[in-house]
């Protein structure tokens, strides 16, 4: 997306990437906690369910789907009328 510097991308950012960043980091952290650092006390608390691992994997899957969406339907930035000369508008995917 960033290769064409003539694209008017400075004016907008894709909130989907921010969401994916958040869920990705959260997912990674608690998956690691769920695999490597789960104590018996934690397990007993949640009735034997390793919720960090399960929720972590869930978050990572969600992140993957979101990134797929961003890839398949990239953000298009319409060029405002007064900047019509800058005509390198990206196509709707």
């Amino acid at each position: 997306m960033g290769s064409d510097t003539r694209k008017r991308t400075a004016g907008a950012f894709d909130v989907r990437l921010v969401i994916a960043l958040l869920t990705g980091v959260y997912g990674a952290v608690i998956t690691v906690l769920g695999i490597g650092f789960v104590s018996d006390e934690d397990l007993a608390k949640a009735g034997g369910m390793n919720i960090n691992l399960i929720a972590g994997i869930g978050l990572l899957v969600f992140t993957g789907l979101f990134l797929l969406w961003v890839k398949l339907r990239p953000l298009t930035v319409p060029v405002p009328e007064d900047e019509e000369d800058d005509s390198s508008q990206s196509e709707q995917g």
């Binding site: 950012f13 921010v18 969401i19 919720i51 929720a55």
Partner: protein, 565 residues
């Protein structure tokens, strides 16, 4: 409460704090990035009307998924059980669909920038001023209450002093709303929506696992205080406080489902503003409908954890629940409001706990940001620009918007400290809400479909309707009219609606209507069909972007849910 504070202290460790800090970094980052999009006052107040429907749709739900919703509805779940779903399926969905299909063409099509501005165009200055001032006042009060609740949760969970949490939270919300305006608020609402789901969905799953699945929950609720009745949504007598089944159903359908919810969802600018920020008529119409899909499912991750807490958390189950249902203090000292926090404490390990805390704080902050962004728009456009400093260049109002946001935040810190002196302020705020929204809805619906309705009818109907609601409230408060449960606000809203209509009709008959040429685009029969219809080409093409069809799907699903539960 002091005894309980120690029990509620969550066992957060460094990882939880790191996850929390990461969330706040992203929130501020969004504010910074959104700032680049702001070059005019329309960018600041309405995101330049450029957002896609899924963003505004999720923001539409998230703006309402604040303190009252998350804490209050899980508390309701613990107290009343499944009938709480009426707040979602009866009390929100139909109104959201009505807003999308019937009202949005006028809001978006007339290009007004706020709900009070619509009042100005339709009914003139008196109605505009009544609506603008009362809305602005309500937002500041609600923002303060949100801020106080946020701070008290931080205080309870993490042990930070109340004043520090209030100021810190206010500074963060101010930073991103003043920088990025509505876009920053909306993008953060979308982010917040996902964090809340990431926090509550695992909590619900662990909770269900803990009590032995859905079957186990059903058995435990049925055998506990409250009994079987808490397991089916109808007739919901415990919720309304009416003994009679028929009256209870009537109260839910007409009071909650019609007047209160239509008043809230269709005229509350906090919500409507999100739809106004979308990029086309079609997207504006789809905003509430897209919002309706998650809205349908939110009860499963809010009410069910509440119900689980009501049977599994020691402080809230058994004799404690029985005492609370009887209107007494529980021996444990807990209240239903603590349901979600206690469940988190009991079930979540570190890591998931950090995400859950982030989700809770996110919901409080987004609630406050929504109040602030709606307030600064109404104050700047409808009070400052309309009556105090007219005809300044656009940049002036953009700057004014930022200054107003800062002032509003300081005022909200003030109202937060006022809020801290009341124990049940949220109840009163919700009541206040019904004072203003129920009559507003009556005036709107009449004004949109009856071209003869006059300017004087506009403001006098509003004032009389609000007066009627306050009258019912006072009767119930002083005990002259005994209405337990939520029945008082249902009846108050009904009275406001009926009185507003009656006064409007009578006043209209005695005063002169506005010339029809001034009402084009504002009244149904005078608006050419073209200006009400949406485009169906380009980014608005496709059956899955057809508001009517989407609304039909939502309605069908809601009916199915009502049959099953």
């Amino acid at each position: 409460m002091t005894v309980l504070a120690q029990d509620l202290r969550l066992d957060a460790n460094a990882i939880d704090y790191a996850l929390l800090a990461f969330y706040f970094a992203l929130v501020l980052g969004i504010g910074y990035l959104a700032r680049k999009q702001v070059s005019s006052s329309l960018d600041f107040f309405l995101s330049g009307r450029s957002l896609p429907a899924w963003v505004t749709g999720l923001a539409f739900v998230a703006a309402n998924l604040g303190a009252i919703e998350v804490m209050g509805m899980s508390a309701n779940g613990a107290q009343y059980g499944l009938p709480t779903v009426h707040y979602f399926w009866i009390g929100a969905i139909p109104a959201m669909l009505f807003l999308a299909i019937v009202m949005m063409p006028f809001y978006y099509g007339s290009k007004v920038r706020s709900v009070p501005e619509f009042m100005l165009r339709r009914f003139g200055k008196p109605a505009h001023l009544v609506n603008g001032v009362s809305f602005a006042l309500a937002q500041i009060l609600i923002a303060g209450a949100n801020l106080f609740l946020l701070a008290s949760v931080v205080n309870l969970l993490l042990g930070w002093p109340l004043w520090l949490s209030i100021i810190l939270a206010a500074v963060i919300v101010l930073a991103y709303t003043a920088l990025g305006g509505l876009s920053a608020a909306i993008y953060n609402e979308v982010l917040q929506f996902f964090v809340i789901v990431a926090a509550l969905l695992p909590l619900t799953l662990v909770g269900l696992h803990e009590v032995g699945g859905w079957e186990g929950l059903v058995d435990k609720v049925a055998s506990g205080p409250g009994g079987e009745e808490q397991l089916s949504s109808w007739p919901g007598n415990q919720l309304t406080g009416f003994g009679d089944n028929f009256l209870s159903v009537l109260g839910i359908v007409f009071g909650l489902g019609f007047v209160l919810s239509f008043g809230y969802w269709t005229t509350n600018f906090v919500e409507v503003q999100r739809a106004m920020a979308s990029k086309s008529m079609s997207a504006a119409q789809r905003t509430p409908i897209i919002g309706a899909f998650p809205k349908m499912l939110v009860p499963f991750i809010v009410i069910i954890p509440g119900m689980i807490a009501g049977v599994s958390v020691t402080e809230l189950s058994g004799e404690n629940k029985a005492a609370l249902l009887a209107g007494e203090a529980a021996p444990s000292g807990a209240t239903f409001n603590d349901a979600l926090l206690l469940l988190m404490r009991d079930l979540l390990p570190n890591g998931m706990l950090g995400i859950a805390i982030a989700g809770l704080l996110a919901s409080f902050m987004a609630g406050m940001a929504a109040n602030l962004s709606a307030f600064n728009t109404v104050f700047t456009y409808d009070i400052w620009q309309a009556y105090i400093k007219k005809d300044k260049p656009d940049q002036y109002y953009l700057r004014a918007g930022r200054v107003v946001t800062a002032c509003a935040t300081i005022l909200a810190i003030g109202t937060a400290f006022i809020a801290s002196t009341y124990s049940n302020l949220m109840d009163y705020l919700q009541q206040l809400f019904s004072f203003f929204n129920a009559p507003l809805f009556a005036t709107f619906i009449l004004g949109m479909f009856w071209k003869r309705m006059t300017a004087h009818a506009g403001w006098s109907g509003l004032v009389a309707g609000t007066g009627a609601a306050i009258g019912v409230f006072l009767l119930a408060e002083t005990g002259v009219w005994d209405l337990p449960g939520q029945g008082a606000s249902f009846i108050g809203a009904g009275a406001a609606f009926v009185v507003d209509i009656a006064v409007s009709v009578v006043v209209t008959m005695m005063t002169r209507p506005k010339p029809e040429t001034q009402l084009v685009g504002l009244v149904y029969s005078l608006t050419p069909k073209e200006s009400r219809t949406r485009s169906t080409v380009g980014e608005d093409a496709g059956w899955y972007r057809n508001p009517g069809l989407l609304a039909g799907i939502v309605l069908a699903l809601t009916i199915v849910l009502n049959i099953f539960f």
